[in-house]
Subunit: 389 residues, 2 copies
């Protein structure tokens, strides 16, 4: 219950969440190169829609037609609730600004405090680069670059389920949806609250089926100091590793942006390839970073990753990179001690990478499995336990 | 981050949540007398409706007309989202039972596991006494006694906000709503999930304005081993004290009921009157337990409590009994050490009660306050900071 106590404490006017993000070194720019040539992405070109159109082949297309969350009753139940939640209309922006301090510092600190009060794991703020906006929505309508500022909300995935999962089983989607459900609730509440204070605000969250994103999250996560680009091609947080989901509230409320962070991940991921070695679809690069749409990154083979997930007969979504990443281990004091050493010493990095391989951070823990393997077939449920073993 | 790690761990087939409830002594019957003469309560007779009808006087009636959550922008924003969430229809019960073990033990353990996975603080199960059902709904329609079994879900209130609040300020409603929002999300998800597995299920949660209760929670909390009757007139949990809210999922899925618990609270509350001393409306009894509708309890003066809250010009809802109760202190190891001693020794009880009075567990901590005091007046927001100080 340490987290319950640590949350929300204000010391010398500095607000802290449950994770000691204030210990991480802040820098002027993200640790990966970002050029001016970043092109806005069309929401019709994200993996799900590309696969649905048949551009990843007939087999994958057929897999997509059977909705992933709809394969399994727990993820389907979570989807029932998320589909409904995402339709909340909310309160319009008040005609007058509330009689509170209007300085960006005070407002940013206050909204972060609200987020921690609502049980976010990390809160951040940033200026939204125009290129982070998708160019067109799923219906092909151009998306307006409407808000300059973003509040970023991070929720960790359930570590015990991640740890117990095999990466090819039935709890993958529910793990992501647990974070997304809570993010949706918090993002909609904060957006409603900001509008009631007199600024405009729009809640942005996943999963993609709720269609509530008009921005890409990774550029916001980099700029709000949530993490660095990782080998898995996504943003890695020093205390949650790859085990989290994020949402944003876009707003015209003035904010003080957080600074990008540098905890030595670019060198770490260069040496550690444990996520790539554990990826069942060989979608994670084992090579060097490349430039992709103006971002220096290890480029995930989206087609391979999506094709594996959409056609996986033994489960819903794969969390194998998440569970194998040594940074995903919980932020308890022994793990944080290692984190501290790894952040400050090259030698410690090398030892930690070797240790992660020796200990096998991607190991399965079937003894901690609590879910049933089930699949909807012709509207009925079939047991999939036998096929797992 | 200890809680993140401890959640959901299965040891020897015994599931544990973040709080060590397995350490608490289980008993055959609740520690307060319950007779066979309990009458079902009419939802039209809960304090809010009684006050609205003018039965607590004109001043209170006028206070109720101005909605409490609507007085303050954060609680109003939470209400925006909860009002919408409560309208989720969800999935009907599947025609066939899922191919999973149908033993009550396996099903109860599984649903509790799902609840912990969805970040409940405590999960319980019980048989629902018929008298726990309200007799009529708010429209006067008789409520059917439909389900025999209940899954109980508990979420702690944000301790730092409870600690920083004065009991007569603007964060009272938001504190309750933070727990209720999350409870609604989890209860609706679990109800949907149980229905998808083939049993019927109904999510029960507050606040009363969402109108999702057809049962009273206290009888369920007693029977599911969540806590004992306390001097404040509500059920007290050994690790959350009075600082929590609860929801239930009523179902025909077979369950193994938990046992009531005995951690010595009846004697503790008899000696400790700190909640009564801290109550600004003198609504909490300083005397002995009485029989009330078949339950032996310290009887809260509902009229005084409700009248104070509905007419409070300096805030929304009062959490003063919650924050002053020594059991509400967080479940960190030093507090749990004291808990253990108090549960097992009369002398330790007496010393703890004396210490709570000396240390002043109901103290305010304005230095940790992060919210703004605001009130809607004629649809605009007015600052109420000055009137607080």
């Amino acid at each position: 219950m340490e987290s319950r106590e640590k949350r929300n404490v204000l010391h010398n006017q500095e607000r802290l969440g449950p994770l000691p993000m204030e210990r991480i070194r802040q820098v002027g720019e993200p640790t990966n190169i970002i050029t001016d040539g970043v092109q806005r992405i069309d929401l019709r070109n994200i993996a799900y829609d590309v696969a649905r159109r048949g551009e990843y082949g007939r087999v994958v297309q057929k897999g997509v037609q059977k909705s992933l969350p709809g394969k399994y009753p727990l993820s389907a139940a979570q989807k029932d609730v998320m589909d409904h939640l995402s339709l909340v209309t909310g309160h319009p922006a008040a005609m007058e600004l509330a009689p509170i301090p209007h300085e960006p510092e005070a407002l940013t600190r206050h909204i972060k405090a609200v987020g921690y009060f609502l049980k976010a794991d990390i809160m951040g703020a940033c200026i939204v680069p125009q290129s982070a906006y998708y160019s067109h929505d799923k219906q092909g309508v151009p998306i307006e670059v409407k808000y300059e500022n973003a509040i970023v909300i991070v929720m960790g995935k359930d570590w015990n389920a991640v740890r117990a999962s095999t990466g090819s089983d039935w709890i993958g989607d529910p793990i992501s949806f647990q974070a997304y459900q809570h993010l949706g609730l918090v993002a909609e509440t904060i957006a409603n609250y900001i509008r009631r204070l007199g600024w405009d605000a729009s809640a942005q969250y996943g999963p993609s089926f709720v269609d509530k994103y008009s921005v890409l999250m990774p550029p916001l996560l980099l700029r709000a100091g949530i993490g660095e680009v990782s080998r898995a091609g996504i943003i890695l947080n020093p205390y949650l590793g790859l085990g989290y989901k994020a949402a944003a509230v876009l707003t015209n409320m003035p904010v003080v942006p957080d600074k990008p962070i540098d905890f030595g991940l670019q060198r770490f991921c260069q040496g550690c390839k444990i996520c790539a070695e554990n990826c069942p679809s060989c979608a994670i690069s084992t090579g060097d970073k490349v430039m992709y749409n103006g971002y220096e990154t290890w480029k995930l083979d989206t087609r391979r990753c999506a094709s594996f997930n959409f056609t996986n007969k033994k489960g819903t979504m794969c969390n194998r990179c998440v569970k194998s990443c040594p940074w995903t281990y919980p932020a308890t004091w022994p793990h944080n001690l290692v984190r501290g050493m790894v952040m400050h010493s090259r030698l410690a990095q090398q030892i930690a990478i070797r240790a992660a391989h020796l200990l096998g951070t991607g190991k399965d823990h079937p003894e901690d499995k609590w879910w049933f393997d089930l699949e909807y077939v012709d509207n009925g449920l079939k047991s999939r336990n036998d096929e797992q073993n």
